[in-house]
Amino acid sequence: METLLLLMLLPPLAGAALNGIFGRRFSQGLVSAIGCGSAGLAAVFAILAALTSHLGPDSPPFVHSYFTWIEAGSFRADFALYYDRLTLIMTLVVTVIGFLIHMYSRGYMEHEGGYYRFFCYLNLFLFMMLVLVTAASYPVMFVGWEGVGLCSYVLIGFYFPKKSASDAGKKAFIVTRIGDAGFTVGAALLFWTFGSVNFPELFPRVAALGLGDQQRALTAACLLLFLGAVGKSAQLPLYVWLPDAMEGPTPVSALIHAATMVTAGVYMVARSNVLFVHAPEALKTVSAVGCITAFFAATIALCQNDLKRMLAYSTISQLGYMFAGCGVAVFSSGIFHLMTHACFKALLFLAAGSVMHAMSGELDMRIMGGLRRKLPITFWTFLVATLAISGVPGLAGFFSKDDILAAAYNGPLGAPWLYWLLTVTAGLTAFYMFRGLFMTFCGKSRVPHDLEHHVHESSSKMTVPLMILAVFSVVAGYVGIPKVLGGSEAFDRFLEPVFGGSQGLLAANGVVAQHPASDLVLMIGSLTAAGLGILIAYWFYLRSPEIPEGLATAFSGAYRTLVNKYYVDEFYNWLIVHPLVVGSRKFLWQFVDVGVVDGAVNGSAEATADVGQVLRRIQSGNIRSYAAWVLLGAVGWLGYLLLR
């Protein structure tokens, strides 16, 4: 088993090393063979690991320490891997979707520069992500956490000659860094309180506590960890980097900024469920932040005209759902949504990439339309994904989203307002997703003439992964059919060994939903919302396209606010960036550097020069005068000796 885990981890690393070091000299074929092959190997081994792990409902998680990484005093961090059912799901999601995106990239990156570089980063990312999800301690997880951050940075800035790309990369790095600080401090706090940061030791110690013990330390640690998750998973208020991350190549957006990396926060919260349930206040914060983020991002997505940006806000919104699910202590619903979302969001991005490919890099939906006929496969797969994300019954999103909505109302920490807000969000989601679909693929073509003839369906390299993902987007939900529909909630039960303890603790302490409602009623509510969203979208963008414009004029203030994303970027600029820049320029540069540092340096130089100007008169170069000076000194000294 430990060999399998290593075998799963190492191919991406080896592929990254090979491509990174020698890729420049390799042919494209060889580079992609190495890149995709290593990803494929990882996927194969992940599946093999899943099949051979034989994790029974009561079997403890598999933990294996490979070597001692850090040892300082009582602090000890091994390079240890942790494999339980949660890990199993995560590795499968990461490797399988990663592999598909690798395959897709072969086609997408064909005509881009830095082919080998791209695959090197992608492989490295895959490795880091696997380290993150298999880590058996916070430090090792942090390695993966930072590693994916690094890969994200280099991939967002992949087109680094473009200023917006390199800026976006820096922004992503800096903003997530704020969260990372929280993560680090949180882990340190945990070590300080419980004497370990290794899951196999830490979790039992915390689990042994009663609800309410070590409340402050746990709450603080959980909030700090959640801060890390907020940064990584682009939640309020640190979400601003994700829309800009769309500067990266589209497969990157699909892999990193939709399917995997951004879900690391969710995974981490779920992994730390034992800690979080002991800090209900922190959990409530999680659900509130997730819920508000979901709604907030959805409203922004309403008015976005850039296809990828719309998807980015959609991602933020969906991540909010996941956090809401985790926050109400129904972690399995969050993970469930994570899985299904990975499928259909990856599909959406890849399809968007396909559109972009066809449109020669253009992503403004206002100049699209009617692409359905020219890009049939892309359209159909996009449609499937849209249906899935909108929660249309029978597709993956329906099951997972419904799971979360139910949990938001009926979960141990659930609350009606969460449900209502999320339901409204679901409606909004359906609306903007169909808006995107209609504007892009339906109606009359608004494509400029010079682009028109160029538009074509992508090659099979790209469409095959699309179709596979489309299948996943349909079927992924069936692993967790809710009871109300006659299902057995297999997914929840599968994860029972991981989350059961936490939920048991809450149940034992009587923490349950205040106003439980029938799941069926809740489901009808959400379906209604989704249906309404779709209908309005249809009405607005296919039947009478003049209405949105009318609305935009009628509510111009609100519209502008939404188009400008609530001016959050501007607000941050005003609050943080601008003072920082101005302060740096005025104070650090113009005052401290120019005035104090340069002033001291130049001043000392000038002072030296001035003193030298005076003293050089003594340095006449005339040796007789020198002798006279020496004599003066001798006379002075003798005089001192005499008068002493």
Partner: protein, 100 residues
């Protein structure tokens, strides 16, 4: 016996004369000779003290001073010759800059 102070006074007078020569003379070679004069004045003081203490160490110091003076003269005169070759002058006041 000769009083120590008389020997020392002789030494001081010779030293002062050497210093005076250094300050007054403008010919490099003369200045150099005045340095030798000063060295000799010091040597005399060494010998005088060696006699008073008594001990041979003072005489050995003189020995070393003479040896060093020989080395100094060799190098110094070589410098003077090089100087004369380059500037065609032996006036010490002309040698007031490193550059030619």
């Amino acid at each position: 016996m000769i009083p120590l102070s008389h020997i020392l006074l002789l030494s001081v007078i010779l030293f002062t004369l050497g210093a005076a020569g250094f300050i007054i003379r403008r010919n490099v070679i003369t200045v150099f000779m005045c340095i030798e004069l000063m060295l000799n004045a010091v040597n005399l003081a060494f010998i005088a003290f060696a006699r008073r203490l008594p001990g041979l160490d003072g005489q050995l110091f003189v020995f070393f001073v003479i040896v060093v003076a020989a080395a100094e003269a060799a190098v110094g005169l070589a410098i003077i010759v090089a100087l004369y070759r380059n500037r065609n002058s032996l006036a010490i006041d002309d040698v007031d800059s490193m550059k030619l």
